[in-house]
Amino acid sequence: MTGRLLSYVTLTLVLAFLLGPFLIIVAAALSAGETLAFPPQGLSLKWVFKVFEIESFRNSFALSMFLAVFGTLAALILGVPVAYAASRYKLPFRETLRTIVSAPIIVPGIIVGLALLRYLVIPLDVGIGLALFIAHTALILPYAVRVVSASLENLRSDIEEAAVILGSSRAGAFFRVVLPNIRNGILAAFILGFVTSFNQVPVSLFLSGPGVRTLPIDMIWYMEITYDPSVAALAALLAFLSIAIVFLAERFLGFSRYV
């Protein structure tokens, strides 16, 4: 009986620890006051509406969206062939290949960001936007390779031979029988990549310039100047967006199988 009580208490504490900050942010976002505070002073939706009026948020949101969507697409275009080759052929350096592909998530983001700034942006005069795109693609690539590999492992390779014997070319077999069967894995990789890119801070921190900031960086920047609840409102909106995406992904793809 006491054991049971203890586990309930622990569970409650863990939940409070995980959900607490989120609830505080939501409460702060609904404040009627002028500064970011908890408990909120009064209740109002005015800061939620204010978010949509702040131009820098609109710009950085557009940039973050662009990076998340196209960075993930680029990572998939690079990552699917890598995953396919690694699962279907006995490559001599298979493990090395996997390590190289995983490197961007093992090396701390702050180092990746600094390195890109110091050796790509400054000496080669690469635009911040392009540098961000390259950085995000590289950061998403490991997730893309891993998730797509997982769904390829579950797919028998003899269906490709079956397609070939029935008259398909090798490449045709990939598009006709491999791709449709790893579609869910690719979608899961897309969602994971999207969320990873959208929430990325350390690398993006180094890669910002006048008017070119991703949304999380812009939020930090905004808070340093204006300490009002609109940041909390934006954070709450983003959190709900993430929850909705993951919920839908779980509902339709069984997302948790892939990550």
Binding site: E161, A162, I165, G167, S169
Partner: protein, 344 residues
């Protein structure tokens, strides 16, 4: 190569890198024949089959089909069908679309496609399951889909990889009958690979027994079962008493033993082999001590210790069991022996 030859393999050598899996194999198959490639795993039977489909390229030799050299023709242009051991159905397509897959690649559509697919599903008795996904079918049903998918392409040769090995005993018998019926009705030339001699004996018109990349024996089921020609085949089909011969005498551990008179044995014969059921117990020039006795349903099996070495014998039941330790006389009649021309 006779005029009737439809599929022919001439001096075909198949290798994985440096390791040779099949060495200079020659095989001629007649149109409409049902051929079994029989042998233990690693004997080269599956490799041979893959070479016929075009999934593997021979290192040397020629393959011809229906008068055309197909040695280097890619798999997707060969008009050869293959039913995989795992069936290899496309998981994202339903039964109808699985069967229609190859036909759509041939640009068949509309009514012609429907008729063809329905015909294929009809042939294997699965018309009522056309909308199901492969995952919703039993193993036996999946195999029928795989069979229909290959047959609707009107292949010149249909290859089957261990077609019965993934089925349980009852289904196996059903599928065996089914395969024979399909072959009769479609008249397609079939080559199937198996490690199970009873499957090969029951199904095939001719059996190719393979070992280590060579053909050990090629013949009708009766040839292989009753007249194995090598030590390996004899052992494989249940001749458990195998002896080397020289000048009409058996060679044993204790020297040479003269056989009882019978059909003369010519010089090409290197060995003789008897099934346990062909060892005559109770009389004869030899004798042995019963070391073991066990009931095997249709017969009682005895293990004898004799001057010739261990002998396995069998008596139909009911049989007055000899007791362990009894000394009994037996005979190995040359008339009942398989004549082996190769002993290695």
């Amino acid at each position: 190569m006779s005029d009737l030859t439809y599929l022919s393999l001439k001096d075909v050598t198949l290798a994985y890198g440096k390791s040779v899996a099949v060495d200079r194999l020659n095989l001629d198959i007649t149109r409409g024949e049902l051929i079994a490639l029989l042998g233990p795993s690693g004997c080269g039977k599956t490799t041979t089959m893959r070479a016929i489909t075009g999934l593997m390229r021979p290192a040397a030799g020629r393959i011809t089909l229906d008068g055309a050299d197909i040695t280097y023709l890619p798999a997707n242009k060969r008009q050869v069908g293959l039913v995989f051991q795992s069936y290899a159905l496309f998981p994202h397509l339903n039964v109808f679309e699985n069967v229609a897959f190859g036909l759509r690649l041939k640009k068949l559509g509309g009514k012609a496609l429907d008729t063809k697919v329905d015909g294929g599903l009809d042939l294997v008795g699965l018309s009522h399951l056309a909308d199901r996904k492969p995952a919703e079918l039993s193993g036996g049903q999946q195999q029928r889909v795989a069979l229909a998918r290959s047959l609707v392409m009107d292949p010149k040769v249909l290859l089957l990889d261990e077609p019965l090995s993934n089925l349980d005993a009852r289904l196996r018998l059903e599928m065996r009958t089914e395969l024979q019926r399909v072959q009769r009705e479609s008249g397609v030339t079939m080559v199937f690979v198996t490690h199970d001699q009873s499957e090969a004996l029951a199904l095939a018109d001719r059996i190719v027994v393979m070992k280590d990349g060579y053909i050990e024996q090629l013949g009708t089921p009766e040839d292989v079962y009753d007249r194995p020609s090598t030590r390996f085949v004899a052992d494989f089909v249940g001749f458990e008493n195998i002896f080397t011969t020289e000048n009409g005498k058996l060679k044993t551990a204790d020297g040479e033993v003269l056989l009882s008179p019978g059909t003369p044995i010519d010089g090409t014969v290197k060995g003789l082999a008897w099934r346990p059921s062909k060892v005559a117990l109770g009389s004869g020039p030899f004798s042995g001590i019963v070391k073991g006795s066990s009931f095997a349903g249709h017969a009682r099996e005895y293990l004898l210790d004799s001057a010739l070495g261990p002998i396995k014998a069998e008596q139909p039941v009911p049989h007055d069991a000899y007791d362990i330790g009894d000394r009994i006389a037996f005979d190995l009649a040359p008339d009942h022996a398989a004549r082996l021309t190769r002993m290695e």
